[in-house]
């Protein structure tokens, strides 16, 4: 199988195959804690179905504050790319989830051995991170509030 949902479908076929060779098909029931903020970021997932909530601990607030959800076709986890290799947020499945899981050490080894793959993959991740940054900026505006884009 070489089919990959976006954002990895744009990788060249050979590299897609190499990447998939280190991926594992996994599934989680609803309510599974995938990782906690501050934990070792040693993998990432390509979500094939279901919904995952990203959250952050706020003292005095239970449950954790929900930041954003990710669903089918989206990448979960980029903290494995850069130091300190710790999760910035926590993650929990909201519904049953099916995904492909990629161990960071394997993927980083692939990237080191095949810089072309590394370059293509990093470009895809930059796109994902840039998209999330832009989405976060837009949410900061609180556009749907009365006078959402600022005082009249």
């Amino acid at each position: 199988m070489t089919e990959l949902p976006p954002p990895l479908d744009l990788l060249p076929l050979v590299q897609r195959e190499r990447l998939l060779a280190v991926g594992l098909d996994v599934s989680f029931p609803a309510g599974t804690r995938l990782f906690d903020e501050g934990g070792e970021a040693d993998r990432f997932w390509l979500l094939r179905s279901g919904e995952v909530a990203l959250d952050i601990c706020v003292p005095g607030r239970q449950p954790e504050a929900l930041i954003e959800t990710l669903g089918a076709g989206q990448l979960l986890g980029w903290s494995w790319i850069c130091p300190p290799y710790r999760w910035h947020l926590g993650a929990r499945t909201v519904t049953p989830v099916e995904a492909t899981e990629f161990p960071a050490t394997d993927v980083l080894a692939l990237c080191a051995a095949d810089p072309e793959l590394g370059y293509a993959l990093m470009r895809r991740f930059i796109e994902v991170v840039a998209g999330r940054l832009q989405a976060t900026r837009i949410r900061l505006l609180d556009l749907y509030a009365p006078h959402g884009s600022g005082p009249p």
Binding site: E51, I67, G73, V94, A135, R139, L143, Y144, P146
Partner: protein, 272 residues
């Protein structure tokens, strides 16, 4: 040439509370009737003694056969309209403006993307597509709101789920919300967009529309396949007063619905 005509009296047949600050009004003619409206067009609604504002048609035929408008109370006039009761009278002018170009979408997928009250002018599009399912391909309805309680037309949205690919996302989830959290464009990842056969119709705050149009273009959709509904302050609605000028366009007459290819560069310019 269009001229400013006096408003016709319309009676409020029914009101419906949509959210804490938004209500729908069904208006029936108290005498003479205005010409029929098309999805995306708007009326100038006059709250007697307060003022007149542009409000889109949010259903062409309500339960009483009248025009439905959905009003969010943000200032003096919209609050006066929001507070109307059945039996009250308003003045109505219209129909004004360009509607959504649904002819261009015949035989193609229709992707409706709304932010907040922006779902109001798009609801007649959903009705039109669901009324003629054979004429169109897939129907996607993606909606972003501030909180779950700010979603307008909640019952409609639930009904649409069976007949269209529907996604609702919120910026701030409340307790009990099980759905997606994030900006509306994140819902695009779950919609298998066919860029060569999709028309996207987008309405919401201008920043949201620009962000959405760029996300669609990033997925290969040509700007000509993206329609947006502009919301500039307007007064005469007939292209005379110049209040709503956007570069070469008078939004009241040349809009509110325009192809994104026509406005992409104008929207990014400050203080145009």
């Amino acid at each position: 040439m269009s001229t400013v005509t006096p408003p016709l009296p319309y009676r409020v047949a029914e009101t419906r509370t949509e959210t804490a600050d938004t209500r729908s009004l069904e208006l029936v003619p108290a005498g003479r009737e205005l010409p029929p409206f098309a999805p995306g067009q708007y009326a100038m609604i006059y709250a007697f003694g307060v003022g007149e504002v542009p409000i889109s048609v949010s259903a062409l035929h309500g339960p009483y056969g009248g025009l439905v408008h959905t009003v969010r109370a943000v200032g003096a006039v919209s609050t006066a309209l929001h507070d109307l009761r059945p039996g009250d009278t308003v003045g109505l002018r219209g129909p004004f403006g360009t509607g959504w170009d649904l002819d261009a979408a015949v035989g193609q997928d229709v992707l409706v993307i709304a932010g907040g009250i922006g779902l109001a002018p798009l609801r007649p599009v959903v009705h039109a597509v669901l009324d003629r399912p054979d004429a169109y391909g897939r129907l996607g309805i993606l909606v972003g709101t501030r909180t779950p309680g700010d979603l307008i037309y909640q019952e409609d949205v639930e009904r649409w789920r069976g007949r269209a690919e529907v996604g609702v996302t919120v910026d701030r989830p409340g307790p009990g919300w099980q759905g997606p959290v994030g900006v509306v464009t994140t819902l695009l990842d779950a919609f298998a967009l066919r860029s060569d056969r999709t028309h996207a119709l987008v309405c919401g705050p201008e920043v949201m529309m620009r962000h959405t149009a760029r996300a669609l273009m990033g997925r290969g959709l040509a700007a000509q396949r993206v329609q947006v509904s502009l919301e500039r302050n307007m007064r005469c609605a007939t292209g005379h007063c110049g209040h709503c000028q956007l570069g070469p366009l008078l939004v009241c007459r040349d809009g509110p619905v325009v192809g994104y290819d026509r406005v992409e560069r104008l929207l990014a310019v400050r203080e145009l």
